[in-house]
């Protein structure tokens, strides 16, 4: 249908309507592509040690130089994309599901339980998330799995808060009351009327939290919470935080090597935030209108106004 097509085009136009939106989409696509093709292409280069060429400065063969084991720094950054993104995805998946469920549960129960729950969430939120993660890791055991769980748990209250606040404000609106009066089922009201309306703020939250947890995870692996390196290294254990750790240790001999992981982490963090914001704008039809044209009313393609 031309109308559906028109809507889709508009949706894309909004997504790409701002410079940050374009940058977010481009960077994010690049990251995802890199995560897929990176390891097969540069996997070997990233782990191949060459003890004759350790800590070399940048050269055409090694644009960011080599590390203490003679491995190519650039290849390690490129290969590290996959694990960094996967860990962040794991943490966001954990936190979003815990947060969403607990937030939704509190809204459903309401009353005093909701108020108590909100207080718990706020206290949890007030706790510095890195500190909380370190504590959780201490309880579990050092390792990448522990980091993912720890970050997931420490940002879960963020999602709970967003779900609680936005759902609670929607539940009181007249259209939810109207839905109840029509006799719609509780499930339909919860999914279509409440969740359906707050989904854009949740999506924005998922992406901005993705970026933040990526940074936090890199910080933790940088600090060495990812566990000790085992004897023979495989590319599956390379992530940006550990690459950064490596580079910082050799900073004096080979300063350029820090650039790779540092830029990658920062850029990825920002890109997710930009993309999330742009996506949020395009998901919200009311905001779409303003960014498309001067008139606050949409006309359908093929419809004469």
């Amino acid at each position: 249908m031309s109308r559906a097509f028109g809507r889709r085009k508009r949706w894309l136009a909004t997504l790409l309507g701002t410079p940050t939106g374009v940058a977010g989409v481009v960077l994010l696509s690049a990251l995802v592509i890199l995560a897929i093709i990176g390891p097969p292409i540069w996997g070997d280069a990233a782990v191949k040690s060459d003890f004759l060429r350790t800590l070399r400065p940048p050269s055409p063969a090694h644009p960011l130089g080599t590390n203490g084991s003679g491995q190519d720094n650039l290849a390690r950054v490129l290969v590290g994309t996959r694990l960094s993104l996967l860990m962040a995805a794991g943490a966001v998946a954990i936190s979003a599901s815990i947060g969403l469920l607990s937030g939704a549960l509190l809204v459903t129960v309401g009353g005093r339980t909701q108020r108590i729950g909100a207080t718990v969430i706020d206290t949890w939120l007030g706790f510095p998330s890195i500190l909380l993660s370190v504590l959780i890791i201490a309880v579990l055991e050092k390792g990448r799995g522990a980091i993912v769980i720890a970050i997931g748990l420490s940002i879960a209250p963020f999602f709970a808060r967003i779900t609680l606040t936005s759902a609670a404000s929607v539940v009181g609106l007249d259209y939810v009351a109207a839905g109840r009066l029509l006799g719609l089922s509780r499930r339909r009201i919860a999914s279509r009327y409440v969740l359906g309306t707050i989904v854009d703020s949740l999506v924005v939250a998922v992406f901005s939290m993705f970026g933040q947890s990526l940074i936090a995870i890199s910080a933790l692996t940088y600090l060495g919470f990812g566990g000790a390196r085992s004897g023979i290294e495989s590319w599956t254990s390379i992530d940006w935080g550990s690459v950064l750790n490596d580079s910082v240790r050799n900073f004096r001999d080979q300063p350029a090597s820090v650039l790779g992981p540092a830029i990658a982490i920062a850029l990825a963090g920002v890109a997710f935030g930009w993309f999330g914001d742009a996506l949020g704008r395009s998901l919200n039809p009311r905001l779409t209108v303003r960014s498309i044209g001067g008139t606050p009313r949409l006309t359908t393609p093929g419809e004469t106004a």
Partner: protein, 325 residues
């Protein structure tokens, strides 16, 4: 002959730049004589509020105004930079908004906020200013003013806040009071009270009033002169007394007919105006009301009628009521 309190000629207000520029008020001229109550009536998007806010130098950021002449009590405001208009307007111009809560500082007592104007402009002491505030609150029929003066805005009910806003305007009897939908959020009973208060202020202190409202009956009851605005322009200016019977613009007529009346026959359907008020960004050639008018002709669509004298005031209509086709 005394000079007008406020004079604005060919006022326009616009938002945005370049091809996104939207002019929401066009060619509006206002002349307010001392002691008169002028009503501006219109629906949403008519530009009535922006006209009043432009007159009060309170346009929102992003709005740009232009006027050929902008005089307040003999001072040429267009020659004074925005930051230096305070001494001219302060204490002489009071504004009452639709939502008093948004114009009162929630963190300061009502009395402290009322005192500001006399302490700044008249150098009154804190005690003297407080005493004046108590007097003014009593004047606007706030009960127990000695206690109320030390309360915070949130401790006041909606009607009381609106009265406190008027009392604030009264601290130094102003030359002009601009009231923008002052009673829209209030009950009819409180509305009647606030309106009688404004009328009293006008009577006793000779304060001129610009009253902005969507309620044509309310305007007709309080004002001496009524400006009817549609799509950013004045379409009719008429004596309040003649409004009910002798309005000539087709929009004014339709607007009056569309208001339910307490004394009307129940079976007679209300006059309806097809369509909705135009969005400010849509440009309508000719008369802006022509797409909704029942007396529209080709001439209405091709050229915009000018505001010309009629027997009851001014009217901008190609086919004014009274000389039907």
């Amino acid at each position: 002959m005394s000079e007008p309190v406020l004079e604005l000629s060919n006022l326009s207000v616009s938002f945005g730049r370049g091809d996104r520029r939207t002019t929401v008020v066009n060619d509006v001229s206002l002349c307010i004589e001392p002691g008169e109550i002028v009503g501006i009536v219109g629906e949403s998007g008519s530009g009535k509020t922006l006209t009043a806010m432009a007159a009060a130098d309170l346009l929102p950021t992003g709005a740009e105004m232009h006027a050929d002449r902008w005089m307040f009590e003999g001072h040429d405001l267009s020659r004074i930079t925005r930051g230096n208009r305070g001494p001219v307007l302060g204490g002489r111009l009071a504004v009452v908004f639709q939502d008093p809560m948004s114009s009162l500082n929630p963190a300061r007592t009502v009395g402290a906020q009322m005192s500001d104007v006399v302490r700044v402009h008249h150098g009154q002491s804190r005690q003297a200013a407080r005493a004046t505030a108590v007097d003014r609150l009593r004047e606007v029929r706030v009960t127990a003013p000695e206690r109320r003066v030390d309360e915070y805005p949130h401790e006041f009910s909606g009607g009381m806040r609106q009265r406190a806003m008027i009392a604030m305007g009264l601290m130094t009897p102003p030359a002009l009071l601009i009231a923008d939908e002052p009673t829209t959020a209030l009950d009819v009973t409180v509305q009647a009270d606030v309106m009688s208060l404004i009328a009293e202020l006008n009577r006793e202190h000779g304060t001129a009033v610009i009253l902005v409202s969507h309620n044509i009956a309310l305007i007709a009851e309080v004002a001496t002169r009524v400006l009817v605005m549609y799509a950013g322009r004045i379409v009719e200016e008429i004596d309040a007394g003649s409004l009910a019977t002798s309005s000539r613009h087709r929009y004014t007529r339709a607007l009056i007919g569309s208001v339910p009346r307490l004394d009307a026959a129940k079976d007679q359907p209300l006059v309806t105006i097809v369509g909705a008020p135009p969005d400010p960004s849509t440009i309508i050639g000719g008369c802006s009301f022509s797409p909704r008018c029942t007396h529209v002709s080709e001439e209405c669509r091709s050229s915009r009628p000018a505001l010309v004298e009629s027997d009851a005031g001014l009217v901008a209509c190609v086919h004014p009521a009274g000389d039907d086709l």
